[in-house]
């Protein structure tokens, strides 16, 4: 290509996916192998010393997985990525270079319920803390921060509440106190929102959702912008001080803007072991080729459904940032101008019972715990995904008893609406 920047659709098809150098295969091959031979002992030593790039073992790097990493980095406008076995694994991998026992993150209280559980409970086993604050007022992050704070964590578009956060304002506060802003961009995808353009430093994904797009493969991704200066303070010794586990090599000095991603592979994946399988990376690469087309259709279908439901007699309210009446419409226009995504929450007048009845009577919709499939999906969070949360956490996360979450697929919009209408009619009886 010329020296001009390729467009998003071109990157979605091509980035990381050049023809295979060994065979000329045009589609990225599935390198289903655990290990890679060394040329000689010297080559092996150079690889283990991180002095030359190359493949050693698929827990660290694998050609199919790296193709996916490069594609995600290109789509987000980042410098590099580390793939993980799942979105949850990606969150741990993103924090691993930053955190030591006793450190903490400040996270939005409007997050996917699974993330709140992971951060609020399991992180404690590493002696990592998590404080949750209402992101509607960005200053809440500054108020909660301490000298143990190592990162802020938000979702660009929160699951399931349809909450859009003022990312640029939160990024500014993070940089004031010298920590990175980590943004979970799963619900928006880089097609709708590119957090690095709004000051974020690290992006995490559950690639399981819209990136893979067909409900085939579990996976996660950590993308680094390469712009955060790890040497600016003493908060991040894993990157800015000599690493005893690597013969006192200093990652930030040796690898510059690449250091966070090198650490993610050389230490994060090496020791945590949550690598993505080549087959899942292949399926996700296939999915991403059509991401722009699917996201357009997801968004236009979701807007039609949201408009229809907001005038429906059985519906109390609809939370979808694409509706002009929505609390987050203005922020949505700023951060997600191409569309407010596929996911919305709907408050049913019939409460908990109506929610349970609805998920049991839909025909086209699938009742399951996922979002971002090409198929329309529905779940009643209070009786499923968010079951472990307290009443207070449920309402903060936008998942009260009367709430159902819809992930609108790419079917014919009239068929989606007809299925909801028949199910709502029966749920209301």
């Amino acid at each position: 290509m010329s020296d001009n920047e390729p467009g998003f659709e071109t990157l979605a098809v091509h980035a990381g996916g050049a023809p295979d150098p060994a065979t000329g295969a045009r589609q990225t091959p599935v390198y289903q192998t655990t290990s890679f031979v060394f040329d000689d002992a010297e080559h092996a030593a150079s690889l283990f010393n991180l002095q030359v790039p190359g493949f050693i073992y698929s827990r660290l790097t694998n050609p199919t997985v790296s193709a996916l990493e490069e594609r995600c980095a290109a789509l987000e406008g980042g410098v590099g990525s580390t793939a993980a076995a799942s979105g949850h694994a990606a969150q741990i991998l993103a924090l691993f270079p930053l955190m030591h026992p006793g450190d903490e993150i400040i996270a939005a209280n409007k997050l996917y319920g699974g993330s709140i559980n992971q951060m609020g409970h399991s992180y404690r086993k590493f002696s990592w803390g998590a404080k949750f604050v209402d992101p509607d007022d960005p200053e809440n992050f500054r108020r909660a921060a301490s000298d143990k704070t190592k990162a802020f964590f938000i979702e660009s578009l929160a699951n399931p509440g349809g909450v859009v956060t003022d990312m640029a304002a939160i990024a500014e506060i993070a940089h004031d106190i010298g920590v990175p802003l980590i943004v979970d961009n799963t619900m928006a995808t880089p097609y709708l929102c590119r957090p690095f353009e709004h000051g974020a430093d690290i992006v995490v994904h559950s690639t399981t959702k819209f990136l893979s797009g067909n409900g085939t493969a579990i996976g996660g991704m950590v993308v680094d912008s390469g712009t955060f200066d790890w040497m600016q303070n003493d908060k991040f010794p894993s990157l800015s001080k000599p690493a005893p586990e690597y013969h006192n090599l200093t990652f930030a000095e040796t690898f510059g803007e690449l250091s966070f991603t090198i650490y993610g592979h050389a230490i994060g994946l090496r020791d945590l072991g949550a690598a993505q399988s080549p087959m899942n990376a292949f399926l996700t690469l296939l999915g991403i080729e059509t991401l722009p087309l699917r996201m357009e259709k997801h968004c236009s279908n979701a807007l039609s459904v949201a408009q229809h439901l907001s005038n429906h007699a059985a519906v109390d309210w609809v939370s979808y940032a694409g509706l002009e009446t929505d609390k987050y419409y203005a922020l949505g226009q700023r951060y997600l101008p191409k569309g407010a995504g596929a996911v919305m929450t709907v408050g049913l007048k019939g409460g908990y019972d109506a929610g349970v009845k609805l998920v049991e009577t839909v025909e086209l919709f699938s009742h399951l715990a996922n979002i971002g499939d090409s198929r329309s999906l529905v779940i009643h969070p209070a009786s499923t995904t968010h079951r472990q949360l307290t009443e207070e956490q449920l309402s903060a996360a936008g998942a009260g008893a009367e709430v159902v979450r819809l992930s609108i697929g790419i079917e014919t919009p009239a068929d989606i609406i007809a299925d909801l209408d028949q199910a709502l009619a029966r749920a209301n009886n």
């Binding site: 290509m1 020296d3 050049a18 150098p21 150079s46 790039p53 790097t61």
Partner: protein, 159 residues
């Protein structure tokens, strides 16, 4: 500060034209960045001549270490500077003096005045980059570690 931007075609032509590199600030310590770069560039077929007065006379990766650029008794195509921005000034002048064709300053090393002098003397200049990283990026090797090479092509890459 605005990030420096170099077209891929410009960097590619430098890496293709250059054969012999004098590396100023080369370290004999195996886990210093310059050692990584020197070792890598050697495996790609470049002759790398280390310059470092502190360890002059010693051997580094099979090459004798020189104490300054003007002592080296063979033609140098490119001077790669592993020193800070201030030191890069006189090193650039020495590079012009010995007839080098390219001055390359490493990550974080930016000296616009020195660059202007070099360009006025007909040299090509790259600042705030690493030739190892650029070589790996442009040849697809950086992609192996999940990095964004920014190269889009449907041509088969050479192995």
């Amino acid at each position: 500060m605005e990030a420096l931007k170099y077209e891929d075609s410009y960097v590619k032509s430098i890496l293709a034209d250059v054969k012999t590199i004098a590396m100023v600030g080369a370290s004999t310590n195996w886990n210093r960045p310059s050692y990584f770069a020197m070792k890598y560039l050697q495996t790609k077929g470049y002759r790398v001549i280390p310059v470092n007065p502190v360890v002059a006379g010693q051997e580094l990766l099979g090459e004798a270490v020189w104490s300054s650029l003007d002592e080296i008794d063979e033609p140098i195509d490119m001077v790669d500077i592993f020193r800070n921005a201030k030191a890069a000034g006189p090193i650039t002048d020495a590079a012009i003096e010995i007839g080098a064709k390219v001055v390359w300053m490493q990550f974080g090393v930016i000296n616009h005045e020195a660059a202007a002098r070099a360009e006025a003397a007909g040299l090509r200049v790259v600042m705030d980059r690493c030739p190892k990283v650029e070589y790996a990026r442009l040849n697809g090797e950086l992609s192996w570690n999940g990095f964004n090479s920014k190269v889009i092509s449907s041509k088969r890459r050479k192995l």
